[in-house]
Symmetry: C2
Subunit: 155 residues, 2 copies
């Protein structure tokens, strides 16, 4: 199996998902040259705005491998991951990502990937959705307790 084979599988999932009334996105995760999980976009079918193909595939892979760390895994996704999915890729420590369509292609069919990437780059006070900081002296107490806690599981 080579990378084209696995990408073709992700693309097939993306096309099949349209016929199932879902968004045009598919993803597979590969370890040791074998597919260990699949994901398709399930936002509208499952009422879950976080159910992008990549998030679904990451959650399925972690359940299957019984870990929160996907080091040693490769992702094949039919479209460049949006910032949500790219961050999830970082948190899960996937080694490498192969993608087909770009964020510009996604913008052409009215998905917000590029818009959100552009928002990410802005100062926190210049974004479309306001972010307001309050009670920082209270909130830091949890971080101080975490710093003092022994035998915690880091990630």
């Amino acid at each position: 199996m080579n990378s084209d084979f696995f990408m073709q599988k992700a693309i097939e999932l993306s096309i099949k998902n349209i016929n199932n009334n879902g968004g045009p996105f598919g993803c597979v995760i590969v370890k040791n040259n074998k597919i260990i999980s699949e994901g398709v976009n399930g936002v509208t079918q499952n009422n879950d705005p976080t159910a992008h193909a990549e998030i679904v595939a990451i959650r399925n892979a972690c359940t299957k491998l019984n870990t929160f760390d996907l080091s040693g895994c490769e992702m094949y996704t039919s479209c460049e991951p949006c910032p949500m999915c790219l961050s999830a890729i970082y948190w899960s420590h996937i080694d490498i990502v192969y993608y087909g369509n770009s964020r510009e292609n996604a913008a052409e069919i009215e998905f917000d990937d590029k818009f959100i990437y552009d928002e990410m780059k802005k100062d926190i006070n210049a974004r479309k959705i306001p972010l307001k900081r309050i009670l920082k002296d209270e909130a830091i107490k949890a971080f101080n307790l975490w710093a003092q806690t022994e035998n915690k599981t880091k990630y």
Copy 2:
């Protein structure tokens, strides 16, 4: 109820979660001045790298309201959302976010939020995790099919 009240609730969740062997993060979502969902970080307990407090709270709110659109809702989160959670906030159309700790505070206790924000801003070819584009002429077929499909559910 005012914003301090709801933030205090998110902070309480963040502290309680440490005692449950979870990461120091808590979140509530509010609609019409009432808490409609809660979330705590469950990455290590659930083997799910996407189970940040905000993602969990968004998924719970959507299940409760039976929608993928949280317009009209406010989020109170004990820490500035990481890029994964901030993007999920955009996808879910939450109106406003209140936060306590900053990404810099999170970096001080060894969480990667700031690192991932910095990675987001980089060119796609300059990031720590490689992203390679392949089979773009195949992948676009799904987007073309989506564009031609009538009666699809947009989001």
